[in-house]
């Protein structure tokens, strides 16, 4: 069985500050990992994905994430946040391509303008 833990339910940062949202996963094999964002009253949107190779993956809007097999982590980062980044961010794992997704419970990000 696999699971995803996002230890921070809520994070508040000031506009222009750097950001890290934490994600830990549990899976015995090699995971496929994603970060999705959910803006108010909108559908989930893919930020970035990791399958293999370079452990640092770049996504949209300046987001990046780093995969660590030794730490079973896939933390999301951004160098300088904007107020429009306020949303709920979900770390997601898939055991294999085409298999159902396992979601974390999300981190609600509030960016103070």
């Amino acid at each position: 069985a696999q699971s995803v833990t996002q230890p921070d339910a809520r994070v508040t940062v000031s506009e222009g500050a750097s950001l890290q949202l934490r994600c830990k996963y549990s899976y015995s094999g090699t995971p496929y990992l994603f970060w999705y964002v959910q803006y108010p009253r909108q559908g989930l949107q893919l930020l970035l994905k990791y399958y293999s190779g370079d452990p640092v993956v770049q996504g949209v809007n300046g987001f990046e994430a780093e995969f660590s097999k030794s730490n079973s982590s896939f933390h999301l980062r951004k160098a300088s946040v904007h107020w429009s980044d306020s949303a709920v961010y979900f770390c997601v794992l898939s055991a294999s391509m085409g298999y159902k997704l396992t979601f974390g419970t999300g981190t609600s990000l509030l960016v103070d303008p």
Binding site: R41, G43, L44, Q45, L46, K49, V88, G98, Y99, L101
Partner: protein
Amino acid sequence: NSKVIQTPRYLVKGQGQKAKMRCIPEKGHPVVFWYQQNKNNEFKFLINFQNQEVLQQIDMTEKRFSAECPSNSPCSLEIQSSEAGDSALYLCASSPQASNERLFFGHGTKLSVL
């Protein structure tokens, strides 16, 4: 903006009533997923299709829940006899291929069972 269209946006039902929601996947996407997102942001996979065929589904789906993706018609998810615990946001997502390399999600149907 999402090109996966879900209707209705909001659905209010009494306990025991049927609840039906629809999803039009993005054009050219043969794979459709349904997920349930509760108020605690816990996601539960319900079922997925490739074209009209079911790929995977959970036991819950086999009892009160039914779903289909007929050709040339919207996909649908129906709860035969709604329960309070079914209150949630139901998300439909489509993908251009069987892999979930990238899922495109609709805005969801928010079901409230009174």
